[in-house]
């Protein structure tokens, strides 16, 4: 039997539908725009020269070059460094929160972690610029402290909250029986957490890593302030330029219609591609985390 839908009900459902479609429309709009805006420069420069070129000299008077390999590698290394520094700290914090911490202490740490997530990225950049960069310069006796290392450290701190909260949830979801079985067999609590709980939560931890990589690849403002922004091939103690900061720093004065500006959109397209891949991996990890 067909039920009659009330007008108010119908109106609200239409509203929900429109809201849902808006999000999809924006994703499509951005995708299409990035592809349309990013392809002309890639076509003009050549895909291999663009992706594998080692020199970025976008306004060179006689011989402009548009190779973004330094920026791609910097973004990859930067994200990897953030993961290497940030994930162990984040994971052990989560393990502590989920299993070992007295409830009152956990009740203090959790809001602090959430607060860390709410700090605007420009503030991370500012603290990095005013504290970390001069400290690195003094300790390592560098001309300037703006380096890949500084960016990695800032990114590592920035990904901590998401790594902690996702790992925390995954660890908390491990059935209590697994741990009880392990303890009953004579394993110590630490052995149990590391050998039983952590492997059982590995899907969620993988998701935390993917989320961290996504945040690290996409961050611009904080690292713009600490990375030095010269498009060198990346090395730990030199000034580097990320894909994101490459767009941010040159967009201001890139003449409309110039190849420089078009190439900046092409960098955006490459960045978009990176984020898409990471999101797909993240979804796979989450799915496996739920199934396993």
């Amino acid at each position: 039997m067909k039920r009659r839908i009330k007008p108010a009900e119908f109106a609200m459902q239409t509203l929900f539908l429109v809201c849902g479609l808006t999000a999809i429309a924006f994703v499509l709009l951005i995708t299409v725009y990035l592809i349309l805006a990013g392809l002309p420069a890639i076509r003009e420069i050549g895909l291999t020269d663009f992706l594998l070129g080692r020199t970025w000299a976008s306004t060179h008077a006689t011989d402009p070059r548009f190779g973004i390999l330094p920026m791609i590698l910097t973004s990859v290394y930067g994200a990897a460094g953030a993961i290497v520094l940030g994930v162990p700290v984040g994971f052990f914090t989560a393990l502590f929160l989920a299993k070992a911490a007295p409830p009152r202490l956990a009740g203090l740490i959790r809001p602090a972690v959430n607060l860390l997530a709410g700090i605007p990225s420009v503030v991370y950049g500012l603290v990095g610029m005013c504290v970390l960069v001069p400290a690195l310069r003094a300790w390592l006796d560098l001309p300037a402290g703006d380096t890949l290392l500084a960016a990695m450290i800032v990114l590592a701190v920035m990904i901590l909250p998401s790594v902690i909260s996702v790992s925390d949830a995954a660890l908390a979801a491990v059935p209590r029986e697994y741990e009880e079985a392990s303890l009953a067999l004579g394993a110590t609590p630490v052995e149990t957490y590391l050998r039983v709980t952590a492997p059982a939560a590995r899907g969620g931890v993988a998701a935390a890593v993917a989320l961290g990589v996504g945040r690290a690849i996409g961050e611009a403002m904080a690292i713009l302030m600490v990375a030095g922004n010269v498009a060198n091939m990346p090395s730990l103690l030199s000034s580097v330029r990320f894909l994101t900061t490459g767009i941010a720093i040159e967009m201001n004065y890139a003449a409309p219609g110039s190849l420089q500006r078009q190439a900046l959109f092409s960098i955006g397209l490459v960045l978009f591609f990176f984020i898409m891949v990471i999101n797909i991996l993240l979804n796979l990890a989450l799915k496996r985390g739920r199934e396993g």
């Binding site: 306004t59 006689t62 001309p143 922004n229 201001n252 003449a255 420089q260």
Partner: protein, 272 residues
């Protein structure tokens, strides 16, 4: 609900209507369009001039397109633009074709170091060596034994273009760091005792010290007198003998008259 909406609508709509009436009641001013074309470095100065001129002559629209000094002079000579914009002195060949220039502003680029840096003066040759990376320690310049951190602006910046061009090191600079604004350069130089950077005179400020170049300090007076070497003129270029439209003439007179001076200073340049 609906009835309450109408007064609100009326309140929103009335001011624009009144404003439109007011504009019609004003004495007729100049009407027209002034097309300017040329130097991208002059974008900031032109933006300020466009804005303040609109207040004086609401009927005149001043367009600016940044194509480069050469293209701007060319456009003025060919009549494609009312006024060409050049951020370098005119060439002999351009003068021979009948280009005439009026100076609207002077662009001085200050070379700045950390206040604790004992180096207070550098020659152009020394600056060339520092910025191309041939000299990388302050001890070679009479300073402490410390590495030099060379700070500059991002590709496409007018200040970077001017500095590299005037020092004759275009596209040869080996920067340690690049920053996206004058404020960033000044802030980072003031935070690093090893640093040297450049910025427009107006944004140098108190937190850094500007070194003398070839023995001349960078001040408004030395830029205006032409004694300070790292500077260039901002020129408004027209074709000799060609009659300008009244609107273009008014804009030219406004921009080069003393009245625009304070606004030009706000855009980071020195009024002549």
């Amino acid at each position: 609900m609906k009835k309450r909406f109408f007064p609100l609508l009326a309140i929103l709509l009335i001011p624009p209507l009144l404003a439109a009436c007011g504009a019609r009641a004003m004495p007729p001013g100049l009407v027209g369009t002034v097309n300017t074309d040329g130097s991208t470095s002059m974008a900031d100065v032109m933006a300020v001039l466009q804005e303040t001129f609109r207040e004086r002559e609401p009927g005149v629209t001043v367009n600016y397109s940044g194509t480069g000094s050469g293209a701007g002079v060319e456009a003025a000579l060919a009549g494609r633009a009312d006024i060409g914009l050049s951020s370098r002195p005119l060439k002999e060949s351009e003068l021979a074709k009948g280009a005439a220039a009026r100076t609207v502003a002077l662009d001085g680029v200050a070379v700045i170091v950390h206040p604790s840096n004992p180096v207070s003066g550098l020659s152009l040759a020394q600056l060339r060596e520092i910025f191309t990376g041939q000299v990388d320690n302050w001890s070679a310049l009479g300073g402490p034994d410390a590495p030099i951190a060379v700070y500059g602006r991002e590709a496409g910046s007018g200040t970077r273009g001017a500095f590299e061009e005037l020092l004759d090191v275009t596209d040869q600079c080996a920067y340690t760091n690049e920053y996206g604004s004058s404020g960033d350069v000044v802030g980072n130089v003031s935070g690093n005792p090893n640093a040297i950077g450049y910025t427009s005179l107006a944004s140098a400020g108190e937190t850094v010290s500007a070194v003398a170049v070839e023995g001349t300090a960078c001040t408004e007076e030395t830029v205006r007198s032409g004694a300070y070497p790292i500077q260039r003129p901002f020129l408004l270029v027209t074709r000799e003998g060609a009659a300008l439209s009244p609107a273009a003439q008014a804009f030219l007179d406004y921009a080069c008259g003393g009245e625009a001076g304070p606004y030009i200073a706000r855009a980071g340049a020195v009024a002549p």
